[in-house]
């Protein structure tokens, strides 16, 4: 259902109104904007704050995540919406953040540089990962671009809460953003929004991205964050170092956060140079970690049809385990979590249902061969206990991976992460050079 009053005419009017706020937005310093946004983030990160409580309740209702998981997700997202983190984002993106406020000298001399946003942008979200669209709003305002946010159907509550908070903290800044929802079937509203945008940002499946690209004029910049997949690589060191349980707890936490719906959520775990017996031990230990995680942050609501699909995959894996000693299955009595050890894993479908598939690989070369078919969609790789992480990272980079981090850092990338390979603010702005 659309946000009340949302129709093509209203969207057009909203975009016109947002465009009018641009001069006011540009008059503020980047630091001032970051601080205002940061104050909202700090409220959302404080569980005692009324705005955070209200947001958490709404996110739980909307997303189907358990209250415990919602709390983790809201806190995790808000961690990177604070003043400190947003100032750091500015500093990491631009050697001199004042470049957003006007022309500054190129440190290497000979020209002056300025980074500018757009008259108005439209950001189209999809899916049900809370916080994606609020982050998108923050990024657009930080490059001084007024923005219309269309969140995903399961990401409205937190986006709207952030905007409400901004209205309280900095109403003039809040006037440069609007949150409007319409369903994917409402093509007229989508087309009205795209017609008035100076930049389009799309989050969604390949088919959604393709559809929107086709609707946008060729000269308009389109930034696409299409669906991605993350994996983990665990080496023999995870056992030798005696920190196996800690690492496996981090892995379980990474898989279960967002109930595995995030592009940063690992689905497959490659056991690098680990033999069959040790692989089975890791499977058992990981199963215990998944159970601990299920107690800390229980799984949320899932449609029966999705769970029925999971039961197919579980039963099929159990059948294969019965005839192949290299295959193993560990699972909760209900459908909360599943761990499968399967050296041949390749074609099996895996959904967003707290399911991890362990895939032993002999060496890096074998690992890269297994990853190659997925390379167009690979994003983050969580790593633990591997020998020669430099060589591993270089190989992963060649494959298309854009983020290689310790397992515990997988679920919540920092504000300044190279989102799908590019700086998040630089992706939304353009450079102007002036040679006086």
């Amino acid at each position: 259902m659309n946000t009340p009053g949302v129709d093509p005419a209203a969207i057009k009017a909203t975009l016109a109104r947002l465009s009018e706020t641009r001069s006011g937005l540009r008059a503020r310093s980047a630091r001032e904007i970051a601080d205002a946004l940061g104050r909202v983030g700090e409220r959302l990160g404080d569980p005692e704050d009324g705005l955070a409580r209200e947001a958490a309740a709404a996110v739980t209702r909307e997303s189907g995540l358990s209250p415990e998981m919602t709390g983790r997700v809201v806190r995790g997202m808000a961690r990177d919406w604070t003043r400190e983190r947003l100032r750091e984002l500015l500093a990491r993106e631009f050697a001199d953040p004042a470049v957003l406020d006007g022309f500054v000298d190129d440190p290497r001399g000979g020209r002056r540089l300025h980074v500018v946003g757009d008259p108005v942008a439209v950001h189209i979200g999809s899916g049900s990962v809370p916080g994606v669209s609020a982050t998108s709003m923050v990024r657009s305002l930080m490059v001084k671009t007024p923005v219309l946010i269309k969140p995903g159907s399961g990401d409205r509550a937190l986006t709207e809460a952030f905007h409400r908070g901004l209205e309280e903290v900095a109403p003039e800044l809040a006037a440069s953003a609007a949150v409007r929802y319409w369903p994917a079937s409402d093509r007229a509203s989508l087309e009205a929004a795209l017609a008035a945008a100076a930049r389009v940002v799309v989050y969604g499946s390949d088919s959604v991205a393709r559809e929107i690209r086709a609707l946008v004029p060729a000269h308009l910049p389109v930034v696409v964050y299409h669906h991605r997949l993350s994996v983990a690589v665990v080496g023999a060191g995870v056992c030798a170092a005696g920190d196996g349980p800690t690492m496996l707890d981090a892995l379980a936490r990474a898989a279960c956060t967002f109930d595995q719906r995030g592009c940063v959520s690992p689905h497959r775990v490659f056991l690098l140079g680990i033999g069959p017996d040790r692989a089975r031990e890791i499977g058992e230990a990981l199963a215990e970690a998944m159970e601990r995680e299920a107690r800390v942050a229980p799984v949320g609501e899932r449609p029966g049809a999705a769970v029925a699909g999971l039961q197919q995959r579980r039963a099929e894996a159990r059948m294969r385990a019965a005839v192949d000693p290299a295959v193993g299955v560990w699972s909760s009595p209900d459908a909360s979590w599943t761990v499968v050890l399967d050296p041949e894993s390749g074609g099996a479908a895996e959904g967003h249902l707290r399911t991890l598939t362990l895939v032993p690989v002999a060496d890096r070369r074998a690992l890269f061969e297994r990853l190659r078919p997925l390379s167009a969609h690979l994003q983050s790789v969580g790593v633990a206990g591997v020998e020669d992480p430099q060589a591993l990272s270089e190989g992963l980079a060649d494959l298309g991976v854009t983020r290689i981090v310790p397992l515990e850092e997988l679920p919540f990338p920092p504000a300044w992460w190279m989102h799908d390979g590019a700086g998040p603010l630089r992706a939304l702005s353009r450079w102007v050079e002036w040679t006086p």
């Binding site: 994606v132 399961g154 029925a308 039963a315 294969r320 005839v323 209900d334 074609g347 479908a349 967003h352």
Partner: protein, 357 residues
């Protein structure tokens, strides 16, 4: 079939399949559920329908191959492969095609040709000679052999799927006769035909008593049409009342099929409120999707079947489909809910591999 008789045969079939099929036998042993230890057919371990894609589930018939050449299936029925690509098609080895005929035809006749008299049968399907791996084509072929009057034929096209002009010509002939016909096709084929016919303004008034069987749904297809709308358009385009349109619920992994019993009842409820009936040799269970424990009458859950006609493969099959049973054993099918899985910014591997195939 009395429940005691069903139970006895189910146990006998279970014993045969555990002994004859290495994968299934090992699976049952790993679960600790073996013949003699399972008291009720509902406790017989079910194989997931997806296992037909990756495992050899051929059991042969009891007594087959004793002292003779190695057993081989007479045919292998394959799923359409729309969900996971052609390379991941489910394969159901069929020990005896005669058994398939015996399992499929009586219930087909009862639900689609209750008068048991010949009539023209038009199937918007490839013939079994063209696609021997299609269980649906085989079934339609058996129906034509049993009840097909002159003019019965398969009407498919290797490129477009449906032989549109052939269907038009055949319908014109049927319309000009005074004998009711039976039309058979998948939902997807009917949508294709309707689009073609509507574009050209072709409408028919088939003789009273004509009936239509629709099956298959839209799994993995790019175009989906709500069933109510499909039936309305079929009624307008063919002149067959919606009350004479019968949905068949079957799957390649089962030798037996279920039908809406609308032809034998007074007045059919609209699509979506109809009941499927299973033949006596097909047991149905409704299970809690989370725990796979049995659900009570009226509670929606995932469907599992025990098909005695699957004696040559594995009889107990767990599906992904949802539904509930009423107090009289009628199956209220809910099917799969497209896009039901929570969507995130993570792409399921299935999506990637599907796109690459």
């Amino acid at each position: 079939m009395p429940s005691a008789e069903f139970e006895a045969i189910a146990q006998e079939v279970f014993r045969h399949q555990v002994e004859a099929n290495a994968a299934y036998g090992a699976y049952c042993r790993s679960l600790g559920r073996l013949p003699g230890a399972v008291e009720d057919w509902r406790g017989i371990p079910q194989v997931p329908a997806t296992a037909f894609k990756r495992l050899d589930l051929f059991s042969g018939l009891p007594g087959d191959g004793a002292g003779g050449p190695p057993r081989r299936p007479e045919a292998v029925f394959e799923t359409s492969g729309t969900r996971d690509g052609a390379q991941m098609r489910g394969r159901h080895p069929v020990a005896s095609l005669e058994l398939y005929r015996s399992a499929s035809m009586p219930w087909f006749r009862r639900n689609l040709i209750p008068e048991d008299a010949p009539l023209p049968i038009l199937a918007l399907l490839p013939s079994p000679a063209a696609v021997p791996s299609s269980s649906l084509s085989r079934m339609a072929g058996y129906a034509m052999e049993g009840w097909g009057a002159p003019g019965s034929r398969f009407l498919s096209d290797p490129v477009s799927g449906v032989d549109h002009a052939g269907v038009r010509d055949a319908l014109e002939r049927v319309e000009g006769e005074d004998r009711p016909a039976l039309l058979i096709g998948t939902a997807f084929a009917w949508v294709h035909w309707l689009e073609w016919a509507e574009e050209r303004g072709h409408r028919f008034r088939l003789p009273s008593g004509s009936r239509l069987m629709e099956t298959g749904g839209f799994k993995g297809r790019s175009r989906e049409v709500p069933r109510g709308e499909l039936y309305r358009r079929l009624e307008e385009g063919l002149g067959i009342p919606q009350g004479r349109m019968v949905n068949e619920y079957g799957m390649t992994e089962l030798m037996s099929q279920m039908y809406e019993s609308v032809l034998s009842s007074d007045g059919a409820p609209p699509p979506g409120r109809r009941i499927h009936r299973a033949p006596p040799w097909l047991g149905i269970q409704v299970l809690d999707p989370e725990t796979l424990q049995p659900r009570s009458v009226g509670e929606v859950g995932v469907l599992a079947f025990l098909d005695l006609a699957n004696v040559g493969s594995v009889s107990a099959v767990l599906t992904e489909d949802l539904g509930h049973l009423d107090s009289r054993g009628g199956l209220h099918l809910q099917g799969r809910v497209p896009g039901a899985e929570p969507r995130g910014c993570s792409l399921a591997l299935e999506g990637i591999l599907g796109a690459q195939s």
